[in-house]
């Protein structure tokens, strides 16, 4: 039984339906990558899992989110709140803006333990300092009292990670935790996350659009395109034998070491906006391996090899 199992999740925000029947499962101790281009619905998936969709003005129209066997879509807000930050923690995209700018960072970390573990201020502080030490934050005492603007981006992201770890969660949802950081810092953070999963045995749902990062630390990958799952498979499969033409094209967009000049082409066309999703397979207008059926019928997510793919022409991927 997976720790988190998202089943046919559909989400609506006002008149638009940015997520359509998204399914994937995150096992305990696994790093599950959620990739896709901008607007593909990665963050919305994360927010759905966090139960924060209503804050964005959205709602779940269908599907289930099973966490530890419990259907979160039916959980009353009070209980959901007790879960958030406690058993499911969030690391957000932009460390620059996810800390309260007018409070010292230390108490912001400690707040989690006081809320969920009922710890005293002193105990929470000690725990926070300990965690900060584990995340190799130098001079933790000083940093504890510092305000967010006094810290570098990498440091802030570590603070956010400390905040997420504070109540020893089972699942961490990390929404592009490194995008806003410099490459060298980004690499450090990726390393920290990888080490955490390894040492604590928790599950990490890692949202990213960087195939390099995916290759570096993910165990399984779910590829989203235009609000639907294109493919979900173990990482080695995804890179070695992508089943969906989109997955293949996505990987080919990244210049490889020693790639010959003029051999990079990208994917023709543009990523559609929510309002312009085409019928049938949403990728078909840009797909080099499309069949006539692709334009008319929506392919179902079905098992192919060790993963799942929603494609009418899975073998086509190999020949693109």
């Amino acid at each position: 039984m997976a720790l988190l199992s998202v089943r046919s999740l559909s989400v609506a925000i006002g008149p638009v339906a940015p997520l359509d029947a998204v399914s994937f499962a995150v096992e305990k101790g696994e790093v599950h990558g959620l990739v896709g281009e901008s607007g593909s619905g990665k963050s919305l998936t994360a927010m759905s899992v966090m139960g924060l969709l209503p804050r964005l003005g959205g709602r779940i129209t269908a599907g289930q989110i099973l966490f530890d066997g419990q259907d979160l879509t039916r959980l009353p807000e009070r209980q959901y709140r007790a879960l958030r930050g406690h058993r499911i923690a969030l690391i957000s995209q932009n460390p620059m803006t996810s800390l309260d700018p007018i409070r010292p960072v230390g108490p912001q970390i400690a707040q989690v333990a006081r809320l969920h573990l009922g710890q005293t201020e002193a105990a929470a502080r000690a725990k926070a300092l300990d965690l900060m030490g584990q995340l190799r934050i130098p001079e933790a005492e000083t940093v504890y009292r510092a305000y967010p603007h006094q810290l570098s981006g990498g440091m802030k992201q570590r603070i956010v990670i400390a905040m997420a770890l504070m109540a020893d969660p089972d699942l961490i949802v990390a929404d592009e935790p490194t995008t806003a950081l410099d490459v060298t810092i980004q690499a450090q953070i990726v390393q920290i996350l990888a080490d955490l999963v390894a040492s604590r045995g928790l599950a990490l749902m890692l949202i990213t659009h960087d195939m390099g990062v995916v290759a570096q630390i993910c165990d399984r990958v779910t590829v989203l395109y235009a609000g639907r799952v294109a493919e979900s498979a173990p990482v080695s499969e995804i890179f070695a034998r992508p089943q969906h033409p989109y997955t293949r094209a996505l990987i080919d967009c990244i210049p490889q070491e020693n790639q010959a000049p003029g051999s990079l082409h990208g994917i023709p066309g543009t990523v559609p906006g929510v309002k312009d999703y085409p019928g049938g397979c949403r990728f078909h207008p840009r797909c080099a391996a499309r069949l006539p059926v692709c334009a008319t019928d929506t392919p179902a997510l079905s098992p192919v090899g060790t993963g799942f793919t929603a494609c009418w022409n899975p073998e086509g991927a190999a020949h693109v």
Binding site: L52, L83, G85, D100, P101, I102, H116
Partner: protein, 308 residues
């Protein structure tokens, strides 16, 4: 920190000088002069010249300015020409009325404004929000003097709950404070609602939700604290309003105060008194900007770091 304020203070000096020049000039641009007011039926041309000389009005303007500024700086605001009392005494006599009216209105506007604005922000798009928005609309559009008149008609004349005019008892404060506060509440509520709305959309608030902090705590402990920053800064900047902006209301309720003092002085061409009042209000405004800075620095660690 102290250094910063000394510096800010020093930066105010040129502004103060410019302002004092404008004030001095304004008064001398006003046509008509106070001598006419001081002369009685039956007095002679010589008497007029004598008075001019006695008051120093025969000297060139720049000389008058320098002499005037010199006296101001030593705390000598001169004697009112018409009221024949030291300007400072007159200002001090009226200041308590302005402070009472302004201070109380400010307190009411601040508490009720923040409360209603916060409620509207928390229950955005509910009937409560719409009610507050209507209040804001009325408060910021209905002319204050007209509202004052209606309140007099209703509560003083018909119901006889409060006095019609004057400042003899505390009851006399109720209607003017209510009149001014409505506008103030509207302003504060609008700023609060907008600021809280903006802040609620920021990432760190989403992060607070994600941490499992209860919504009421997020609103009251986190968002409101942020929203107070622009509100308090705004109010500090508008300190001129608190002291001088109540002219209309003072007029409607026939209340003494700095505004009334200034208006009367203006219409009587009482130079020293006009200058004294304007300078007084100007200093209050400048101090307000300083206060605004102080509040920012006290409340916002980012500002605190920027200055040190």
């Amino acid at each position: 920190m102290l250094g910063y304020f000394l510096k800010r203070f020093a930066l105010l000096l040129p502004v103060f000088l410019a302002m004092s020049m404008v004030i001095f000039a304004i008064v001398h641009l006003v046509p008509g002069d106070p001598i006419d007011h001081m002369l009685q039926i039956g007095s002679s041309v010589e008497r007029r010249a004598e008075l001019m000389a006695q008051l120093g009005f025969d000297k060139p303007l720049p000389v008058q300015y320098v002499l005037w500024l010199g006296r101001m700086l030593t705390g000598d605001f001169g004697t009112a020409l018409i009221l024949k009392q030291p300007v400072l005494d007159l200002i001090l006599q009226n200041l308590p009325y302005s402070l009472a009216l302004g201070g109380l209105s400010l307190a009411v506007a601040m508490t009720l404004g923040v409360a209603t604005g916060a409620l509207a922000a928390i229950f955005r798009d509910s009937w409560l929000d719409r009610a507050v928005m209507t209040l804001i609309l009325l408060g910021s559009t209905v002319p204050a003097f007209w509202l004052g008149l209606l309140l007099i008609l209703g509560f003083a004349v018909q119901l006889e709950w409060f006095p019609v005019s004057g400042a003899r008892t505390w009851e006399a404060l109720v209607l003017p404070v209510a009149t001014i506060s409505l506008g103030g509440i509207a302003l504060v509520a609008r700023v609060t609602r907008a600021a809280m709305g903006d802040i609620a959309r920021q990432d760190f608030v989403m992060m607070l939700h994600a941490k499992g902090v209860p919504a009421w705590q997020i609103y009251l402990k986190h968002i409101l604290r942020h929203a107070l920053l622009p509100i308090v800064t705004l109010l500090a900047l508008k300190i001129g309003w608190i002291l001088g902006g109540a002219v209309t209301i003072e007029f409607v309720f026939a209340r003494p105060g700095l505004g009334t003092l200034l208006i009367n002085a203006l219409s009587q061409r009482d130079y020293p008194l006009v200058q004294g009042c304007l300078l007084m209000l100007g200093c209050a405004v400048l101090l307000g900007t300083l206060l605004g800075d102080l509040v920012q620095v006290l409340m916002d660690p980012r500002m605190r770091d920027r200055i040190s």
